[in-house]
Structures are given as structure tokens and as C-alpha cells.
């Protein structure tokens, strides 16, 4: 038998794992679905509209950027959808619809594409966008709506659990998310379901969420706050599960992840207990994002058999 001699020659290994960037991003999107469903149940279809506008503008921004720059379209990696979803989750349901559009432009164009696109951004795009919006439109961003199950919500403002003071809200409200806040962060049960999906699919390790939440829990207890209230309120779970675990902007060493998450926890508590800003989680993750390169460098593993001899 004659064989055609045009074989593919490539360096080993000749088999690869099934995971791709796209499949990982898809798993994150699936993990965000419970929170999306919860947001619609809690805040009505207005929440879905905010999410749709946010996702659409994020994807369009990325597509437009690639078209203008004549680069290969990168929207197929699905990461813009995640940015859009996370951005929407950080907005109140009553927000005017131009706000998510501005947020998406900041997140995708300024934070992501200007620095080189996926893999090169120094901070989490959704977080920077949220902070930018909070600084630019403080009153719009904090007019939290109160959940009206399945009904169109009006702009009734109500206390968020953090603003409710030391007494806090009933635990059941915190778990189910039946309290005021931005659309994606109130329902702890939905966020935890997402966490389980991320862990089961080996998308993330438990390290960052566990250490982050653990640090906040311990510090709250030390400073005399109700630890469970602190953990379940505000954007902590959303931030710890979905934002602090962003691959690009978190350390890739195990020890680095612990340091990063602990730092996030400490800064969150400091802002919550001693500051007067509402975006404790966002700022803490942003500040720790900036330290990631140095954390990575300082926590490099010693290789098997010992490191290089000192020069």
C-alpha cells in the first residue's frame, strides 16, 4: 500500500485537553445563569432589559473594535458576554438604559481592548466600569430598587443590608435576595449555585472565594459586626465568586491566590467599617488587581530539586 507522505509534523504533545478558552467562558456564563434568573424573578423584566442592553453593548463594542482595527473577530471567545453580564449585575434595576452602554464602552474599549484585548487587561473590566459609573453617576447608581416579585419595579429606594445598620436584615431575606440592591448581587443562593457549577467543572479553584469570604467573616467578627450579615450582603459574594476569580486579573500561583484573596477581604472590611464608600468590594478587587504582577513574581514556586543558584 502506498502511503501519501504528507504528514502533519508538530512538536509534542500530540493530544490536548478538551478545554478551550471558549468552553471555560461558557462555563462561567452558565454559572451566572442562576443569578440572572433570580434577578428577573426579584426585579422584574426591567432587570432582564438592563442585562440585555449591557451584554449587547459589550459584544458590539468588542466586534466594532476588532472591525475598526481590522483584527480577527474575538467575540467568539464569549468573554465579552461575561463582562456585559457582570456589569449589568452591578446596576440597579431602575437605571436608565444609556448607563450600561457607557459602562460597556469603558469596560471593553478602555479597560480591555486598549490594553491589548483578552488576557492583557490589568484590571477586571466590569469592576472598573462599575467604579467609573459610580463616580460619574452617584445618585443613579445608588437608587436601589426594592424587589417586587415579577412585577415591573418602580424606583422605590430602600435600604440595602449594609445601609440597614448593625441590626441587619433577616437571614432568609439575605439568602433569597429579597432586599434592596443591584440586580445581580442580592440572591446569595443563586450565586452559590453558580459557585458550585464553577467548582464542579473545574473552572476555578475554591481558594479565592473561600479565603476572601473567610477573611471578611473573621474580620467582621473581630470588629464586632455580624459576620453572616457582612458576608451575605452587598456585592461580596458576586465579587468573590465571579470577579476576584477572573483568571487574567488574579494571581496564578496557589500562594498568590491566598494572598490576593486575603488582601481583597481586608480592604473590603476596611472600606465597609471605616470608609463611607458603597463600592467596598469593587475597590478592594481593583486595588488587589494592581498588585497581581508583583504577587505572581514573589510567590513563584521553588522547582523540584531546588531553585537556581544565586549569582
Amino acid at each position: 500500500m502506498d502511503m501519501q507522505e504528507n504528514y502533519i509534523v508538530s512538536a509534542s504533545p500530540h493530544i490536548r485537553s478538551k478545554d478551550t478558552t471558549q468552553s471555560i467562558m461558557l462555563n462561567v456564563i452558565l454559572a451566572l445563569m442562576p443569578a440572572l434568573v433570580a434577578s428577573v424573578i426579584l426585579f422584574g423584566f426591567r432587570a432582564l432589559l438592563v442585562e440585555a442592553v449591557s451584554v449587547a453593548s459589550a459584544v458590539l463594542c468588542e466586534a466594532a473594535w476588532c472591525a475598526v482595527r481590522k483584527e480577527k473577530q474575538s467575540i467568539r471567545d464569549l468573554s465579552a458576554i461575561i463582562t456585559g453580564l457582570l456589569l449589568a449585575f452591578n446596576l440597579p434595576a431602575s437605571i436608565p438604559l444609556y448607563i450600561p452602554v457607557i459602562g460597556a464602552i469603558v469596560a471593553i474599549i478602555v479597560v480591555k481592548e486598549l490594553f491589548g484585548g483578552i488576557g492583557y487587561n490589568f484590571a477586571n473590566p466590569a469592576i472598573v466600569a462599575r467604579i467609573t459609573l459610580a463616580v460619574s453617576f452617584p445618585s443613579l447608581m445608588t437608587s436601589y430598587t426594592y424587589p417586587r416579585l415579577f412585577q415591573a419595579c418602580d424606583a422605590l429606594t430602600s435600604a440595602t443590608p449594609l445601609a440597614a445598620g448593625k441590626a441587619g436584615l433577616p437571614l432568609m431575606d439575605l439568602l433569597l435576595g429579597t432586599h434592596g440592591g443591584v440586580i445581580g448581587e442580592t440572591c446569595a443562593v443563586a450565586l452559590l449555585a453558580g459557585l458550585i457549577w464553577l467548582l464542579v467543572t473545574h473552572t476555578i479553584e475554591i481558594t479565592i472565594p473561600a479565603v476572601y469570604v473567610g477573611t471578611v467573616f473573621v474580620l467582621s467578627w473581630i470588629f464586632g459586626y455580624n459576620p453572616l450579615q457582612q458576608v451575605l450582603s452587598g456585592g461580596l459574594l458576586l465579587g468573590a465568586i465571579f470577579m476576584a476569580t477572573d483568571y487574567v486579573t488574579s494571581p496564578y500561583t496557589h500562594l498568590g491566590k491566598i494572598i490576593f484573596a486575603a488582601g481583597c477581604g481586608v480592604i473590603t472590611c476596611m472600606i465597609r467599617f471605616f470608609g463611607n464608600m458603597r463600592e467596598g468590594v469593587s475597590y478592594s478587587i481593583l486595588l488587589m488587581n494592581l498588585l497581581v504582577p508583583i504577587i505572581n513574581e514573589k510567590t513563584r514556586r521553588v522547582p523540584l530539586g531546588g531553585g537556581a543558584a544565586k549569582k
Binding site: Y7, I8, H14, R301
Partner: protein, 446 residues
């Protein structure tokens, strides 16, 4: 698995890196078949590490099975013997798989397979005669390294060696030849081990097998039960369990210092097929002239464990096993560390242990996307390196960073490329970086 087995497997936990990879060891229960004599055998003069052999026959010469055809120019090489009886039909130069030239001796078999009349079991009674016998055995590290075995068994610190490790991990997916060696020649293996322990004066031996080879574990445990010196060490099936430094760490807890030979921690490690070949050579005097290969892959019609004369061309192996379709990739070795071939007239050499033929589906090279810094390559690296950072330094031409990133200890196992979701060719980059570092005169083995 009985209750007591729980304890047997309890010590197999492993902390360093590595991966769980689908084994694809479908040929594990296929007994060895023998390839009918091919039309010609092409005996390469490069079948070991060290200087190439020099042909010691001429065109037209008659050779027997076991007649020396390639003479080792230095002590660091190993003689090469004819795998067939017949006539030397040519001595030529061909392109090596790595793109360099190499000399080949082509032998046309006469079909009689007469053994060389001078072959008789070697007289071995002490260390010197044992090493002398090995130097005429044609045996090299058969796990793939090809290091001459007679050199391997005489390290400078031989009196300090307290353990002989038999590497039967066979962690590469698809390959099952070491597994067959355990199942088909357990007594020859034990004969070889006994000789090594006796003549090298080593007190104990650990036969290291991954826990996916239960039949081999059971058989060897039973066979070695009567010998106090020999134990079976069950290791977790986790690629690259069979890599030298990883296996030493997991079997003995000892860590080979960076850049040092593995013998400094008091062990000598031999592949199971190597030790079995030693046993066979001591019993018969027939040097290593044939090799068992696992022939598999999704383009192969009938996957087999096939024993072939050394020098058989890849195309003869593929044709004997049958092809479902034209393969798009042909690999010598396993899928993780094997070498993709660009021609199928290249011959099998003695350290080969597998031929894989992949269809287009498995062969196509995945699209490379930007690194998303997931850190999976770092968790997977069995040597504790940071492939992502080495890759970045390489792309930015920051070659001065390589030394600090310890790229010189990369073993090229392929774990980083395997796990990378962005399908970046990390292993390739690591190997290139290692070469750059070596050229710059820093790092590397001292």
C-alpha cells in the same frame, strides 16, 4: 479489590503537579504478536545517546541474527546488532527524524533467522564481568531515553546505591508494552533484577507500577513474594509518573537536586523492559535485536502489541496492522512525548516503544488564542515551573529571565501544552528556551 487492597493503594497519593489523562490503553490485554520478516531492515547507527556507531560490515557481507553491524566508537555508546540473518545490501546516509544525517545499514533477510554461531550465554561472576557482558548486550534505556545501560549501572557512587528502581509506570497514554512485559516475562524480569542486585551489590529493589495495571501488580506481587529484597510499589496513575525525578520522589521520597544525576540520591533506575532484556541476555547471550511496540491510534485498523526486528520500517508496521484511513500524523513513541514523523520509511530503533497513527481529527493542530493566565500550566507542571511566565519571556525576547525561571530543568513532559485552554505551544517554547539558555552558557547541567 479486597479490603486489604485499600491499604496497599493508600500510599499512592501525590502532591506534585502532573495530570490525569485518559489512558487509551485499549491494547493492555493484547498478547504480543510477531511481525513476519519484512523485505528489508534498515538498521540506524543512532540508537542511543552518545556518539553514533560506525558500521563494521560492508555491502555484500552475510550477517546472522546477533552479528554486530555497528561498533560503538566510545564507551558512552552501545554496539548495534543485526536483527535478521541475510545480506548487507547497502550502507547509506539518510535524514534523521530531527533533520540531521545518519548512517544506516540495510540488510535483506534470507528468511532463515540463523543466530550468530558465536552467541553463547555470557560468563558472569562479578561486577566487572557483569558490566563487560552488558557492554556487549546492545541494551540501552528502553523506556525511550536510550542511555547505554552498562554506563548506567556503574555510577561513581555505586557503594552508596541502596535501591534499584524498576520503572514500570508506563504513564504515556496508548502504550502498553511495559504492561505486556510484566504479564508475559515476569520470570525474566526477576532474573534480570536478581543479577543487578547481586552484581551491583544493591540491597533492595522496588518495582514501580501505576495503579491502572492491576494484573501486572498482582502478578509481580505474587512472583516477588518469595524474595525479601524485591517489593512492588504501586503508584497513582498520573502523567508523568514515569519521569525519572518524579518517580524517584514518589517511590522513595527522595528529591534529586537540580542538575544532578539521579544516582546521587542512592538509586539506580532501570526500565522494566531494560531489566527484562538484561535477564534475557544473561540467559541466552542473544543481544537486543527485537522490540515490542504498541501500535495504536484512531487510524489503525487492528491495534496490536507487536514485536518487530529492530530496523523494521514504520510503513511495514502500519501495513501489518492495517489502516482505516490514510493517517495524517504518525508518531514514534507516546502521544505526550513522542516524535511526529514526516516519513514512514524511517526505521524503528531499539528505544522506541510505540507507533501511533492519528486520523485528521486527532492530528489537526488547534488554533492558538491569547493566554488568559488561568495558571493551569503552573498547577500541571511536575517540576514546579511557571510555563506561562517562560512563554511570556520568550515572546518578549527577554532571554535573560530564563535562568531565574529555571527553564533548564524542564523535562519536556508536555503537561503545560496539554492543559492550556488557549492551546499555546508551551512545551515547544520551553524546549526552545532551554536551548537558548544552554547556548548562552548559563544554567543547564553542571
Amino acid at each position: 479489590m479486597g479490603f486489604s487492597d485499600v491499604f496497599k493503594y493508600a500510599g499512592t497519593r501525590q502532591k506534585t503537579g502532573g495530570l490525569k489523562i485518559r489512558h487509551h490503553k485499549d491494547t493492555a490485554n493484547f498478547p504480543t504478536e510477531y511481525l513476519p520478516l519484512p523485505e528489508q531492515v534498515v538498521i540506524s547507527m543512532v540508537q542511543h545517546t552518545g556518539a553514533p556507531c560506525v558500521p563494521c560490515v560492508e555491502k555484500g557481507d552475510h550477517v546472522y541474527v546477533g552479528t554486530m553491524v555497528g561498533k560503538a566508537p566510545t564507551a558512552m555508546s552501545m554496539h548495534i546488532f543485526s536483527s535478521v540473518s541475510g545480506t548487507v545490501s547497502g550502507i547509506e546516509r539518510i535524514f534523521h527524524k530531527a533533520g540531521m544525517g545518519e548512517t544506516i545499514v540495510i540488510v535483506k533477510p534470507d528468511g532463515l533467522q540463523e543466530p550468530d554461531p558465536s552467541i553463547k550465554p555470557p560468563e558472569v561472576h562479578d561486577f566487572t564481568s557483569f558490566v563487560d557482558a552488558l557492554s556487549m548486550s546492545g541494551i540501552v534505556g528502553l523506556g525511550g531515553a536510550g542511555f547505554p545501560t552498562d554506563i548506567k549501572v556503574q555510577p561513581k557512587n555505586l557503594p552508596d546505591i541502596d535501591t534499584l528502581l524498576i520503572n514500570g509506570a508506563e504513564c504515556e497514554p496508548y502504550l502498553t508494552t511495559d504492561n505486556r512485559e510484566f504479564l508475559e516475562h515476569p520470570d525474566t524480569i526477576l532474573y534480570g533484577i536478581d543479577a543487578c542486585l547481586k552484581y551491583l551489590d544493591i540491597p533492595k529493589c522496588l518495582i514501580c507500577i501505576e495503579d491502572n495495571k492491576e494484573a501486572a501488580i498482582d502478578l509481580m506481587t505474587k512472583k516477588a513474594a518469595s524474595d525479601d529484597r524485591i517489593d512492588v510499589c504501586v503508584l497513582q496513575s498520573r502523567y508523568p509518573q514515569g519521569a525519572q525525578n518524579i518517580l524517584i520522589k514518589n517511590a522513595t521520597g527522595r528529591i534529586v537536586p537540580r542538575g544532578a544525576r539521579h544516582t546521587v540520591v542512592g538509586v539506580i533506575m532501570l526500565n522494566v523492559t531494560t531489566v527484562s532484556s538484561i535477564g534475557k541476555y544473561l540467559q541466552t547471550g542473544m543481544p537486543l535485536v527485537s522490540k515490542r511496540l504498541t501500535v495504536a491510534g484512531d487510524a489503525i485498523e487492528n491495534p496490536k502489541n507487536l514485536e518487530v526486528p529492530i530496523g523494521t520500517q514504520i510503513k511495514d508496521v502500519l501495513n501489518y496492522c492495517g489502516l482505516k484511513e490514510d493517517p495524517k500524523k504518525v508518531i514514534l513513541g507516546g502521544p505526550m512525548m513522542g516524535v511526529a514523523q514526516f516519513r514512514t520509511d524511517y526505521p524503528i530503533v531499539r528505544q522506541n516503544n510505540g507507533v501511533l497513527a492519528f486520523s485528521e481529527k486527532l492530528a489537526k493542530t488547534p488554533e492558538i488564542t491569547p493566554c488568559i493566565h488561568c495558571g493551569r500550566c503552573i498547577s500541571a507542571c511536575p517540576m514546579g515551573l511557571s510555563p506561562v511566565e517562560i512563554g511570556m519571556a520568550f515572546e518578549r525576547y527577554e532571554f535573560d529571565k530564563f535562568e531565574g525561571l529555571n527553564v533548564d530543568i524542564c523535562i519536556g513532559c508536555g503537561c503545560c501544552s496539554y492543559v492550556c485552554p488557549a492551546k499555546r505551544p508551551l512545551t515547544e517554547v520551553m524546549t526552545l528556551s532551554k536551548g537558548i539558555l544552554k547556548k548562552s552558557g548559563k544554567g543547564g547541567k553542571k
